[in-house]
Symmetry: C2
């Protein structure tokens, strides 16, 4: 049996009781390590789980799926995923390979950023399509996510923006020379995402395009959701470009239409008194749908 | 401290290790009991958790919030919620009251239907707004959710339909006479939801409206997601009106644009061989966006 086990979002104890019992009984335990991170490292997990964890990075999962699945028709293998196995990143590929190989699988669900963002008080069923915001480079500044945010806003929906994670990236030089030397991991902050969005707003304004968002659009920045030191800040896009949310992971929400209860909740997390007072005014003046 | 603790979706062991440790140390433990159900009852939870649980139904949470929060500034009180505390139903109201009363709160997240539906292979970030489908009566047949499904479909997005739950409903007679006698709980099945959608389709067709969905639209029915006997069936809306998914809770997904990997996953759950073969053809012929 292949067990796909979600670890939740915070630390070692965010695994479910069921997930913990199962992984402790498995013959091999893999830890998926490229799409997300917990606030604790591999060693802390190993100590708490009482098991050695085999790191499965992007290369392993895609190229060594056969090794992960080896013998899983006879024995139990666990594949641990931060968040939920079908959260922001999905593990459909591994599941499909298992099924094709005649291996049964079972999913042990957990919280993922896709549902835990509800903690800021915005209702999950008022979210439209989620988008990914990638790190811009000098020569590559994609704006495609803007159109999705626009579509959501036009329907009054909130947009969860998943922020870029660069793990095991190689410099062009190392890549060309075939050297497996990796750059330090990079995690996009809410500031960085907000800055890129502000640049898009300026750009669209220069081109006289109708704006779906502005510097005053109400946004919510979240960091380390589900952990003890999580931070939530609500304010205008301009404010969030200056807000310090600390260590990764960060997420950003662009709000759509705000219901009174949602607004009451966001006030708990307002960047400052002024933005707190402004939240309502800003919403009704800039939201056009 | 007020702890809002998600229980996940299956049985007693779907709570997180952290959640279990916290609730065992709380002075009072409430179980929210009106929006969702686990596959096990209150007694099984009490036995496993080793704690007496105070049932908090809709009346208690809304009318007796003060009682729930009583003393939570001095002692620890746990409020258990099936799924995640901020899943399909939110507990913003209780949180806001806590904050107003100067009581600290903490959320222990877990899986909810809002993210666990990913297990059918449809990508969570391809979902638009979620909708609720309510039980129709002879005289009340709201169709408003259809417009949301339409909007999602036009953008290529999937739609998660949360199906109605009627718990502690009173007959008109009992209500008028002030008798607190309640009807047996009712949970909408995927069949019933599909039937109502088919009736809307017929209705719209009679009125010569453009159809956002048809009898052949690919849908996914799910029951008891996250439990050992969960069922997933993919097929046309017409097929799902005939599919038997057993005990509650059920959920229905109306697909939007299907990516190849999503299609591969849905084939694992196809109602029959024909629908399996038809899935691809159906999708490309009926999906118009």
């Amino acid at each position: 049996m292949l067990y796909l086990i979600g670890l939740g979002l915070g630390d070692a104890k965010d695994i479910t009781v069921k997930g913990l019992e199962i992984l402790r009984a498995c013959s091999r335990v893999y830890l998926e390590a490229y799409t997300s991170i917990l606030t604790v490292g591999k060693e802390a997990l190993e100590e708490y789980y009482g098991r050695e964890l085999i790191l499965a990075d992007r290369e392993t999962v895609e190229q060594e799926a056969d090794e992960i699945l080896r013998g899983a028709d006879q024995t139990d293998v666990a594949f641990l995923v931060v968040g939920d196995p079908f959260g922001a990143t999905t593990h459909s590929d591994l599941m499909l390979r298992a099924v094709k190989a005649g291996i049964q699988y079972r999913v042990i669900h957990n919280a993922s950023i896709m549902n835990a963002v509800g903690c800021c008080g915005l209702q999950l069923y008022n979210f439209g399509e989620a988008v990914s915001i990638v790190f811009w480079t000098e020569s590559w500044k994609p704006e495609s996510f803007y159109d999705k945010i626009k579509r959501n806003r036009q329907s009054g929906m909130h947009t969860l923006c998943l922020l870029d994670i660069k793990v095991k990236e190689q410099t062009l030089e190392n890549l060309m020379k075939g050297r497996k030397v990796y750059e330090p991991p990079r995690y996009m902050s809410v500031c960085q995402a907000a800055e890129q969005l502000l640049e898009i707003v300026r750009h669209k304004r220069e081109q006289n395009e109708d704006l779906a968002i502005s510097e005053d659009t109400v946004c919510v920045g979240l960091s380390r959701v589900g952990s003890e030191d999580q931070k939530i800040k609500a304010g205008t896009l301009r404010q969030l470009a200056l807000v310090e949310l600390g260590k990764p992971l960060h997420s950003l929400i662009i709000t759509g239409h705000l219901h009174p209860m949602e607004l009451d909740m966001l006030r708990l997390f307002a960047v400052d008194e002024q933005s707190l007072a402004a939240l309502k005014a800003v919403d009704s003046s800039t939201f056009t749908s």
